[in-house]
């Protein structure tokens, strides 16, 4: 029986899981939408992983969690490592591409840039208060254009003359996009313009003058959008590497961290069926009135989410 390590990355939009062996080789992985319910997402994720996992040869010896719901899931699964997504991504990516110098990551709600030199993070930045130019925005606009989000990049590539779209702010971009639609620009041009707007927003507001040196690896859900990848290549002049397992990099990284921690807390796939109580309340701190979900275990608050912006977050007592 060999030891295996499970890493779970629970993001705002999607939940990712990876199981690795002691040589950091990926044994299996899974990816699904969080749909605002990380607990249920992780339950499904664990069931999916269980079917792919070779339980005769391996046993999961330790769990690590990352992503915005890392505390909750870390508590539920008794994780040995609960780590922020920046570190997890850096560790995961350098294990696949040891010579990487720049990592772009655009997820559902946040985006970050990580600068590495000699395999060590030397600088990073994360988007600040707003989620402009992240996956959530692309999904919304894809729905507006009636293009399945998976095909969005492909549609954008068919454009020969991308429509300029204001990149600074999601709200401005949206009104700009609507106006361009109404004056008769083609969907392809608008899709391509939007991809470019997202890249410009990212370079101006997240990368902000940081030195982008190749090799550049692009990760996160948005990296699956070929239109954005092309726009990045045009704007930076570098080849953009998108890994087949790029969306799993955070989960992979935290699995490695769990292995490196040396702590062993054998894990059972049934552990996800712990009893948690979830209560919703409306945030009320702005006109959005987001439904904030609070999670209680034995009557104590362990996590909260559902907020569209950082305003609605409920302070989580540290474990």
């Amino acid at each position: 029986m060999k030891n295996a390590f499970l890493g779970i990355d629970i993001g705002s939009i999607s939940t990712k899981g990876t199981i690795i062996d002691e040589n950091d080789r990926i044994l299996c992985g899974d990816y699904l939408y969080t749909k605002g319910d990380p607990l249920e997402a992780v339950r499904t994720l664990l069931k999916n992983l269980e079917t792919k996992f070779d339980a005769l040869q391996y046993r999961v010896a330790a769990v690590g969690t990352t992503g915005s719901a890392r505390k909750l899931i870390g508590a539920a699964l008794d994780a040995v490592v609960v780590k922020n997504e920046i570190t997890a991504h850096a560790v995961g990516t350098t294990s696949i591409h040891p010579d990487v110098r720049t990592i772009f990551e655009i997820g559902g709600q946040d985006s970050k840039i990580i600068i590495l030199r000699g395999g060590v993070v030397t600088d990073y930045a994360m988007n600040t208060l707003c989620a402009a130019g992240t996956g959530a925005f692309i999904s919304n606009q894809a729905a507006r254009l009636d293009i399945p989000v998976e095909d969005f990049g492909g549609v954008a590539l068919r454009s020969t003359d991308p429509t300029p779209i204001a990149a600074r702010c999601t709200v401005f971009a949206e009104s700009d996009l609507v106006h361009k639609l109404q004056i008769g620009c083609s969907k392809e041009d608008i899709a391509a313009g939007l991809c470019r707007a997202i890249v410009l927003n990212y370079l101006n507001n997240v990368a902000k003058g940081k030195k982008i040196e190749p090799p550049v690896v692009f990760q996160g859900g948005v990296s699956k959008n070929i239109g954005v990848v092309k726009a990045f290549e045009n704007e930076t002049g570098h080849e953009i590497i998108v890994d087949e397992n790029g969306h799993l990099a955070g989960a992979y990284g935290v699995a490695i961290l769990a292995r490196r921690s040396g702590a062993l807390r054998p894990f059972d796939f049934r552990v996800a069926d712990v009893d948690f109580r979830i209560a919703g309340k409306s945030c009320g701190r702005c006109a959005n009135n987001c439904e904030v979900i609070c999670v209680f275990r034995d009557g104590t608050l362990v996590d909260s989410w559902g907020n569209r912006c950082e305003r609605g977050s409920v302070a989580v007592p540290s474990r």
Partner: protein, 367 residues
């Protein structure tokens, strides 16, 4: 003698770090008036300030306004606001807050120190007269000396706390000694020697707290906008959080360093390779401290400011240059009134991981 029997004013100032202890002491002993300690800043304070402030004003405006309104609810009839020598929006805080409070229907005395003219010391006395028409200059000077000693003691003790609290063996010991220290200051006799005695006693007590200090700890400097950097609520207690990861936190910016010990020409000289002109308020001192720390081999710098703080925004490109030249990472935070702790912790933890791994890597390279 009728003046002595006149009803005492109930003076209040905003919450600002731990400096309320000093304001209170000065008002009670120097001005011989009552002091209303503003309630500790909470979400309610923030909401109160936010609701009655222009949306895009910097957050210290909102925090101080919220504090004033809570103090008035608690019985204060005289509010003091600072400002004056600086070149930023702080200069207008007083006049605007005075108007907002009046518009809300409160009939209080608003003493705006920004109205004093530094070149005419008599203008300060005019403001003091608003606080106590029958003030005793002797008492003001005597208490002034005591409070100045307290300021020095407070800032040094706070610096000692934040440098070491991350390494205490038993959680909460530094805080306990510090709380006792503040209480001792409140009750101190009105002379410099009494303050010195309290300071020395506290220093000794802090030195006796067992710490587990590594030989080469991670050192980070905290810099940024005046209010946010000194007020724990505004900064989401970032210094303590950073310390608790196991970092030695140093902050030059405090009231005594900026008002008493600061020499602008010296700092300008330090940073002349980077900056030709002053950019206002604390930018010169912040850039200077950042550069000094970078030269001393600090592992990281944390820059805090309220959202939209123009002078500190001007300082940021210079800080980035220093960061690149000396290979010292800088973590920038911009706070407004609402901000969740989770996002801050994610960034801070990532920053800690980064500088820790960087340091380990450099250590390995040397061997």
């Amino acid at each position: 003698m009728h003046k002595k029997n006149a009803a005492k004013k109930k003076v209040s100032f905003s919450q600002f770090g731990n400096y309320n202890v000093l304001f209170e002491y000065f008002v009670r002993h120097g001005l011989e008036q009552e002091y209303v300690v503003p309630p500790a800043i909470t979400k309610h304070t923030m909401e109160l300030g936010n609701r009655n402030s222009p949306d895009f004003v910097c957050s210290p405006f909102k925090f101080t306004l919220g504090c004033f309104l809570e103090a008035i609810e608690a019985g204060a009839d005289t509010i003091v606001q600072v400002g004056g020598v600086v070149a930023c929006r702080l200069k207008y805080y007083g006049s605007l807050q005075k108007k907002i409070i009046r518009d809300l229907g409160y009939d209080i005395t608003f003493v705006n120190l920004a109205e004093a003219n530094r070149e005419h010391p008599a203008s300060f006395l005019a403001l003091i007269r608003q606080l106590n028409p029958a003030y005793s200059l002797r008492k003001i000077l005597r208490t002034g000396a005591t409070v100045l000693a307290m300021l020095e003691a407070l800032d040094r003790t706070q610096a000692r706390l934040i440098e070491n609290v991350g390494f205490e063996v038993n959680d909460g010991e530094y805080d306990r000694v510090f709380r006792r220290f503040l209480q001792d200051l409140r009750e101190a006799d009105n002379n410099v020697f009494a303050v010195l005695k309290i300071y020395r006693r506290t220093k000794k007590a802090m030195e006796q707290i067992p710490v587990d200090l590594p030989s080469d700890p991670l050192r980070v400097a905290v810099i940024g906008e005046y209010y946010t950097v000194m007020d724990d609520y505004s900064s989401h207690n970032i210094e303590k959080k950073a310390a608790k990861y196991g970092m030695r936190v140093e902050r030059w910016m405090n009231v005594s360093n900026t008002l008493v010990h600061y020499s602008a020409p010296k700092r300008r000289k330090v940073i002349r390779d980077y900056v030709t002109y002053d950019m206002g308020v604390t930018t010169t001192s912040n850039i200077g401290f950042a550069l000094t720390c970078a030269k001393q081999g600090f592992d990281g710098i944390i820059h805090l400011k309220s959202f939209g703080c123009t002078p500190e925004i001007d300082a940021m490109p210079v800080l980035r240059n220093i960061s690149a030249d000396y290979d010292v990472p800088i973590l920038f935070f911009s706070f407004d009134c609402q901000n969740a702790d989770t996002g801050i912790e994610t960034r801070l933890e990532a920053f800690y991981d980064m500088i820790r791994m960087k340091k380990e890597n450099e250590r390995k390279k040397r061997i």
